[in-house]
Symmetry: C2
Subunit: 218 residues, 2 copies
DNA sequence: GAGCAAGTGGAGGACATATCTCCGTTTGCT
DNA sequence: AGCAAACGGAGATATGTCCTCCACTTGCTC
């Protein structure tokens, strides 16, 4: 960074904000594959403007997710602060997965090293010990089965984001049903929690299938 | 169809077989997104040859999966024939998911209506009552929790194929670990089965993340 | 309020990917 | 031998994405 970065002209700064906002929305809705042309359109500026402000897509992504990536960290810490060890684990899963549902780009960043390697790797590094504490605590409390490992956590999240992505448009909460099943499988004691969401109807399932797997390809 | 379809010249018939074989391999490995050019190359013929034999990609897919699509049906019936209701359910999940792992195109066909609507819809129609029997039987035996619905079955499969796809290259069996957890969550009684596969090591997890989500885009 | 650097828009160049066609050449069959 | 069938693969067509270029506009400074 240069020591003397003169401030942007006020119209330019306004456009910069518009671009960031538009990109935030679009990435959250559709994932990182959206084009900068699309971002420009939504922001109401020309493509050229986007490219002068952000040399390429990576730069925009970086600027955008600088903080958002550790929203997950905040959730984890919030969970850590809870008294009940099991409730903390449930809270963490529920909130973290739900976050990935609201923001598709975030999910893509978390589950892939393809973009912004540094920043994400760093965020993961910070996250790991906290999640580890949540897991270990639940195990020590005798609530979480002992053969679960920290590396299981992201994969469990992945499973549920897959359901979420698939069913999102026909039944946005359906994933909670499957999270409940998984949590029952993770918990010692064998009590079964009532499933918090209804099963899909046949029509809903057809609807989900109709849109099929992986919308990324537009 | 014409009543008198004269047989193909023998070289042409040979090529037809080669094309089907190549397409079968490639689709299984990489999914339905592979180009017919790629199929032609693997088959050792020109693209033109592929297109004379199969008017378009859909036709090729149709010809290929005419039977393969109800391999799942076969598994379901095999499961139905088993004595132990719970074991039947476990068997069905294990084999069906594992099939999706071996054949990516099959998975895409099953979870999306985008291709070959008719044939797949038909296959699903046949499959449903059989799966329903497996589910109901396990519930009547008091082994499967009663609040599970038939529509839950495909979504559970989906969850696990997501894990499988993600971890396939670093630990091909990891998905069985999560299937075990899910099954424990589905079963009444609360006994916990030992997890049949090791958790991913940190390095394996990194490896999975490095290749990231959704390879379809090559 | 003049002048100029900073900023802007968006057409379009460069490149990549996919589907499918066309036609000069080769090959099997009778 | 001769001809219809089959072949290969260059390339037409279409679509999509990234990014550049430059004639024009706008805010800021003196």
């Amino acid at each position: 960074m240069s020591l003397e970065t003169r401030p942007l002209r006020k119209d330019a700064e306004l456009n910069r904000q518009r671009i960031l906002a538009a990109a935030g929305e679009l990435f959250a809705e559709a994932g990182l594959h959206v084009t900068l042309d699309a971002v420009a359109e939504r922001a109401g500026v020309g493509v050229g403007t986007v490219y002068r402000r952000f040399p390429d897509k990576e730069a925009l992504i970086d600027a955008l997710f600088e903080d958002r990536i550790d929203a997950v960290g905040a959730i984890a810490e919030q969970a850590c602060a809870m008294d009940d060890a099991w409730a903390a684990l449930v809270f963490f899963f529920d909130r973290a997965i739900s976050l990935h549902g609201e923001d598709r780009a975030l999910k893509e960043l978390v589950f892939s090293t393809a973009h912004g390697q540094d920043r994400v790797a760093q965020a993961r590094g910070k996250l790991k010990p906290i999640v580890s504490r949540i897991v270990v605590r639940a195990q020590e409390a005798g609530e979480l089965r002992p053969d679960i490992d920290i590396t299981d956590v992201p994969l469990i999240q992945l499973m549920l984001t897959a359901v979420m992505e698939y069913t999102h448009d026909v039944s946005p909460d359906a994933w909670r049903r499957y999270l409940a099943v998984v949590l029952d499988g993770l918990r010692t004691g064998g009590a079964q929690t009532p499933l918090p969401a209804a099963a899909l109807t046949d029509e809903q399932l057809d609807g989900a299938m109709a849109r099929g797997l992986r919308p990324p390809r537009r």
